[in-house]
């Protein structure tokens, strides 16, 4: 230091200070140099309206709450219903204490399950088809390639129609156009968790109304609910046959009845 002299020493210190500042700034500002854009790594397709939701992060929350990444505006979906994450060997879905549970390809899951390309996930009455081309199911039986080109929800219907040999009716929630396909013979609508169509809304009674298939006709009856069940604006007394296009109101939630889903 002594050999630099007074001015040399000052110059050295100035250079040292400025280059420490310069180096720290350069190395840390390089961190912000991120020109990667958004990468779509998976996709959800809403079966009710065919709308596609792109997923560009490794963790996505689904639910009715506005803070969720994918908001499902449907009273049968819990506020924080599920989380879909990309882990190790593929994608996983976690049930986060939801009221109505999650089914993957028609099977109810317990807390968590792996999901693959083309899987159909239903939460309450909303049905989503999952797409992520890198992760395919190992056994082809569950994911028949012949149905690859038809939309996900129709594929289920087609499979069911083949097995039952008759038309499949459906209920469409008129608030968000979500869909309930009527596969079995009897459906109970209500707030209680043992109902087939669970509507966790306080205006709906625990057991609100009942849909029964007699021959090829669906009949609607009220189950002594508080608010009653209305068909096309009139209270239902006894059991009433349903026709395509009928509007059912169960405790303030409106459904449109579709007699033959495949033909519409």
């Amino acid at each position: 230091m002594e050999m630099l002299g007074a001015y040399g020493g000052l110059l050295f210190r100035v250079l040292l200070c400025v280059s420490i500042l310069f180096f720290l700034l350069i190395s840390l500002l390089l961190l912000f140099n991120r020109n990667y854009g958004k990468n779509v790594i998976a996709r959800f397709i809403n079966a009710a309206n065919g709308e596609a939701v792109d997923i560009s992060s490794w963790e996505v929350s689904l639910g009715r709450a506005k803070t969720c990444d994918i908001v499902l505006n449907n009273p049968t979906v819990s506020r924080f219903h599920a989380v879909v994450v990309r882990r190790g060997k593929g994608w996983m879905i976690f049930d986060t204490n939801s009221k109505t549970g999650i089914t993957v390809n028609g099977k109810k899951i317990d807390k968590k399950a792996f999901i693959y390309d083309g899987d159909i996930i239903s939460m309450g009455t909303s049905v989503l088809s999952f797409r992520s081309p890198l992760f395919k199911r190992a056994d082809k039986k569950e994911n028949p390639p012949a149905y690859r080109d038809i939309p996900a929800d129709r594929r289920v219907v087609a499979a069911a129609k083949r097995s039952s040999g008759s038309a499949i009716s459906a209920l469409v929630n008129m608030a968000d156009r979500s869909l309930v396909l009527l596969f079995s013979e009897e459906y109970i609508i209500g707030r209680a968790s043992d109902c087939d169509i669970v509507l966790p809304v306080m205006t709906v009674s625990k057991h609100q109304s009942r849909l029964v298939k007699e021959g090829s006709v669906w009949r609607l009856s009220d189950m002594n609910s508080r608010g009653g069940t209305q068909l096309n604006g009139l209270d239902v007394i006894g059991s009433v046959p349903l026709r395509g296009g009928d509007v059912i109101c169960a405790g303030g939630i409106y459904f449109k009845f579709i007699e033959n889903y495949m033909s519409e």
Partner: protein, 458 residues
Amino acid sequence: MAENVKKKRNSVYASDQKKRTAKKSTKKQKNYIPPDLELKKGKVREKIGKWFVLMVFLTLLEAAMDLSALNGIAEEQLPTVLLLLGGYLAAQWVYYIVAGLMLRRRMELEMAGFLLSNISLVITASVYPDRLTTQLVAVIGGILVFAFLVWFMGNVNRVTVSRMPIGLAAVGLLALTLVLAEYNNGAKNWLYLGSFSIQPSEIVKVAFVFVGAATLDKIQNTRSIAKYVVFAMVCVGLLFLMLDFGTALIFFATFLIIAFLRSGDIKTIVLICTAALMGGVFIILYKPYVANRFATYRHIWDYIDAGGMQQTRTIIYSLSGGLFGVGLGNGKLRNIFAATEDLVFGVVCEELGMITAIAILLAYVLFLIYAIRSAKYARSSFYAIAACSAAGMLLFQAILNVFGVMDILPFTGVTLPFISRGGSSMLCSWGLLAFLKSVDIRTYPKVMRELYQQKERI
């Protein structure tokens, strides 16, 4: 006939469309490899040019600092000091060759950490040349901890599985310290293991962030947050019993950040703060010796040569340094007790200049801005929360240290991350830096590769 024509036209149109989309996709493929990456043998890799240039610049800068640190060191200690500082330069190059050249990783955070650690090393070399070996071992240990943690956090499953055992180990370590430690400078926070001593609260800081951050499925589960609240309360409570208020305050601030990030609710934070304030008032009312620790706060000039000596000297001498400092070895603050630990900010101001001091503080601020900015690109909410809370912890600790010695906040005797002398503190600083490194998916080439593969097909 008309039908036929229509069909033909359709088919022509379709094939044309196909060609067009094909062209588009190839164009996209070329475009979406960012300019600082290259695709070789199906692998996305970092280009190495700019890191080499920066590394050479860093080495020259550090060599200049090392030479200026030799001013005033006794003749017989010169060879060992030169050897140790040269060894640090060599260690950096070894890290660069392994991580930057062989594994093709980005180096910006490490380089900032290298430079900050070097400032700590030259100050140690200049003030306590005989303690340089310990400090060098601490810095190299810190870099190893950093590398290990970055590797460890590469796998999300490994992280989720290990959170519980790490939390239990952290609480156990703090409890052990409370039982075994003896009072040292008014706090009971040192554990002596034979010839060397550690400060467990510094190591628990890393665990505190690690346990606090959680994946999204855990966040949506209410039971998980209850567990974390219990863990945080136990940690802060144990630190209070050790009378280590500075560290307890850092833990509490980090807890607030984590609680906010996990709940997204500012009302909860207000409630927590109110509860903590009431608790603090009760402690001061019923345990007067706690208040006595802060008797000189805002009155340092009344006790110039007693309780306020460290702070008054720091303020006076750091001003005498000016913008560019008086040069290493020419300062006066170095003769005060704890000059290289609690008062190190004053030493930097005096000997290396205000510009260096501001550059160091700017680094902490940039860490936090970077953590917040990169949170939305993170692989999991674990990384986002961990990075934001780790950067928040570093910045809060720096604020507590700098404003503490300036008498703006109570003087709690916490260290300045990366700059203060002390092994545990250095290990903790590098450990927290690992959270910032792992939030970036560019750290993990496997993840990047998958991202690009997926984009090609969807």
